[in-house]
Symmetry: C2
Subunit: 404 residues, 2 copies
């Protein structure tokens, strides 16, 4: 049986649906999220210089509708990227048709997202043809939500979702999110689509502030392979249908809402890393004692993206020397003779040199589903934490044959 | 039969030897290069903050002996890195014993290099015990040189060497080099050891200038996996035994010598990339039309280190979208709508969008041993060229089990 979200956790006033439009060879490939009421929206998009057509279109729609949206339509199987003016026109037509079918809304009230292969024209007729059915079958049920989470998958092996709740002014408020990840997951949004909906009430400005605050230690602290995609989008919609009072920035309610939002984002981020292409385990890299937070972050990311570290982790190899070497090439100045490295709780390097440990115990512990690595530079108070996954032969197999 | 260098290309006044000292489970693991006369030396070392003990020792020796060296001793199987003060002491003892056995020289006239696993104390007794035999068996023969090239190998699948000659003042001058590479090959020297010897006559200052000039488009223009090691060393010795007049900086002779040196360095660099761990093909990434040389270099390196690009290349997949996406995340500003991408000579992307090409022809061409990729940004005159290799399942297999 497929995992399901508890129906009580579905935010009020949102409906979901998904259909198989034929973009993928088989399976669901087109999904829709609809809000009964105009919802405040906050979005973060890819930092890649090359941005896909739906990213262009969605940015424009957000401005035009002053961040009040009615829905999000998402297709998998084709990224609609490097498709020129036609690509943008296709994204616009998709929004237009969806808005029309939903209730003659303005097309700018629809966000458009795509994920899949780059540089192949999006077969828009399939999408346009499927939209009426997509709109008709929408429902405020856990089943419909579950179908949506599967429709946005590409090389993901499982759907990813998370929920949280909190009380705002005595009223229950629900936060529900889902995501797709797999390859190209890197700081600052990678081929990652994530959608979070809530029945809390908040202005777009407050939402944006909360979202930016929530991503720092969650979506922006994960890395699968150092590649950043052209389509990444994280969208947050708040429709106020829960009946709670509007959340004001900086208030106690704001902090409660941020807590719920962060817990959803963290769960989704870790699910993405855990389902990184070919990944066998989640690796948590914590750097302590760095000259600054920034230095700690730089070192943690360099270790997280080192192919030699990641392949060693695939084999459960306690090769702490590669961690030390990765830290050394990060560009951060530190004294190697003060460095301490722990893998899976085992001290392996002290004062920059080998510390005795039992190789067999270490090997066994490194084969766990979650492996913490702690590097202490002994050079200050800067700390950082990054999550990544191991780098396996399966990653290569998946990516060597994605298109052909 | 093992490939051999032509005996006529051996620079005069150099001898080579190699023995199996027991550091590796089997095979040659200790090599020696000796110059009959004190030779001018120029060395470039790793830019990693974490530097191995032999790198420390060799730096000191160069200063102490004012860049006039008698020989180089190299072991494979153990990097003597993260081994603390003891590691440096071991490197010093190795130099001392070698210098003594060679002819009561000062130990600072010996360079020491190590490559292999990090963080395991170097079994120095094996080395000290093997040195007399290493010194005794040295010979100025192609066979001895061939054995040396094999003694420095780690996960290399073949030995790497190259030779060139030129005329200085009417006299023939020979330049001979060898290298080890495999994983961790990245700009600015990676787990790379390279040794170049010549019977030309030049001061250490002139040699250093030539070496720095030669590495830019050769050793510093290759990347296997973005990891930089702790032990990288490129050493150049010139003993003047060819009888040619001393090379002056900036002279016509200097340019001739530089040409020969560059051709040796380029050949070694390409051999290293071609033998990158698990590599099936050499990929040449040329970026043109960038706002500056530096921007071109940044983009070329980002593409060269993208796991998604490299795995696509392993499968011969004409996935030019990943090349575009890698360029887009490089941090360089450019207009994606002007980009042109060619893989294996086939135009695949024009004005930032798909250009029709035959997938089957492209797939076949991408399976060649040498694949050129040309990215033209249409944004200026900056150009850069980087060599890398594809990223295969074999890379993961090799690196997931290196130690355990």
């Amino acid at each position: 049986m497929k995992p399901r979200i508890d129906a009580a956790l579905l935010p009020r006033g949102f409906e979901f649906s998904a259909v198989a439009s034929g973009l993928k060879k088989s399976g669901l490939d087109l999904g829709l999220i609809v809000s009964e009421f105009p919802a405040s929206a906050a979005c973060l998009f890819t930092s890649n210089r090359v941005q896909a057509a739906p990213v262009f279109a969605s940015r424009i729609h957000l401005r035009q509708s002053q961040h009040k949206m009615r829905g999000i339509i998402v297709n998998s199987g084709n990224a609609n990227c490097a498709t020129g003016a036609e690509g943008i026109s296709v994204a616009a037509r998709t929004a237009l048709k969806t808005a029309w079918e939903l209730g003659r809304y303005h097309p700018s009230q629809i966000l458009v997202c795509s994920t899949g292969v780059i540089g192949v024209p999006l077969p828009w007729k399939k999408i346009i043809k499927a939209i009426p059915r997509l709109v008709r079958t929408r429902a405020a049920t856990a089943t419909a939500f579950g179908q949506f989470t599967r429709a946005i998958m590409t090389t993901d092996t499982r759907s990813k979702f998370a929920a949280a709740k909190c009380r705002i002014g005595g009223k229950l408020v629900r936060v529900l999110g889902c995501a797709k990840g797999a390859g190209m997951i890197h700081p600052n949004m990678a081929t990652m689509l994530a959608f979070v909906v809530t029945d809390a009430a908040a202005s777009p400005i407050v939402l944006r502030r909360a979202l930016r605050s929530a991503v720092g230690g969650t979506f922006n602290a994960i890395s699968v392979d150092g590649d950043t995609s052209t389509n990444d989008t994280l969208a947050l919609l708040a429709n106020g249908a829960g009946g709670a009072p509007e959340i004001r920035a900086g208030s106690a309610d704001y902090r409660k809402f941020l807590g719920a939002l962060e817990s959803v984002c963290r769960s989704l981020a870790l699910q993405i890393v855990g389902d990184g292409e070919g990944a066998h385990r989640v690796v948590e890299i914590e750097v302590r004692g760095a000259p600054s937070e920034r230095a700690a972050d730089t070192i943690a990311r360099t270790i997280a993206n080192s192919p030699l570290v990641k392949t060693a982790l695939a084999g459960g190899d306690p090769n702490w020397g590669r961690i030390l070497a990765a830290a050394g090439r990060s560009g951060v100045r530190f004294n190697p003779d003060r460095v301490e490295v722990r893998m899976a709780g085992i001290l392996m390097c002290r004062n920059g040199r080998a510390h005795f440990f039992d190789e067999r115990t270490a090997h066994r512990k490194l084969l766990a589903a979650h492996v913490p690595i702690v590097v202490n530079l002994g050079a200050g108070n800067g700390t950082a934490r990054i999550w990544t996954c191991d780098f396996t032969g399966d990653y290569v197999r998946i990516n060597a044959s994605y298109r052909s």
